[in-house]
Symmetry: D2
Subunit: 98 residues, 4 copies
């Protein structure tokens, strides 16, 4: 089952600057070979369900290894069985109707 | 790694009444043996990471099997390595300070 | 327009113990006279749109006044024009189908 | 108080194609003069708190007027009092550390 998700990772207990933790998570996604796009509040990711969620788990693990005692993330998760739809197609579908 | 999550599942393309789909997801969680508590906007779940996310995947699969062409879910996900904390402890920790 | 929301407030830059901030937010909701129910990952709130969102803003303000340099909150927001539905009805509607 | 938010609007009860509703919401944001950027799972918005949340409310109203009996949206909301930070700065801050 393919899935598209939007992931936002917030380390807690490491002060106010979170960008190095988010960057580490981006590297996890790249090394996993997953298509992903960063935005100002998270990252859009697409791929096979198990691969995508293995990467989410690894993000939590890596951010803990960097010293964060708590990690709070939020996800939007979309699956559909009527047809395939990539992240790019989702955006274009809206943009042509604006 | 233990995890606590808050899961909200929204089937798309099946009309406005969503409760039977949410109920099916509750049954998935019960059959998985996961501790979980329903609230008006989702379900708090706690357990071992892989078991919890296997149940989230099964929720999506079951809701599709019931006829939903699209499923949109949102999750809050919490992990901590400083100490164990159950869902009940999270609530009590706030309530005694109100 | 009535609205039901699920609000989770995460102060950033104040260490790992967040419960006193969440408790302060609960007091804001009580003082605003809004019906609300705490769960382990947030708070369900119902009321008139402008009153509910005024309280969300006040939560952010109060948590900043308590010393948090950053506040990250997540909300699920539901409106419907087909009929009225309280938070309690949303839960019962699922529970009777489990 | 300035705020940055990430808004995802999901109309319920209008079938599986949601892009025209999201597009209508984008037009609301443009007409409100708010800086905003569409991604595959939502829209990043920045501005003064009251103006941003007035636009969120108008999105719900417009989507209902287009025929959606229910609207379910999810928001991430960020405020900070230590310094100003635009949406662009948030992205660049991560990108230079990847």
């Amino acid at each position: 089952m393919n899935v598209t998700i939007d992931l936002s990772v917030v380390p807690i207990g490491v002060g106010v600057s979170l960008s190095e933790y988010v960057a580490a998570c981006e590297r996890v996604l790249s090394e996993a070979g997953l298509s992903h796009t960063l935005h100002a509040f998270g990252t859009n990711i697409e791929g096979e369900w198990d691969e995508v969620f293995a990467a989410v788990k690894e993000c939590h693990e890596v951010v803990h290894q960097m010293g964060a005692p708590r990690v709070h993330s939020t996800l939007r998760v979309g699956t559909r069985i009527d047809r395939e739809q990539t992240l790019d197609e989702k955006i274009r579908s809206v943009e042509k109707k604006i």
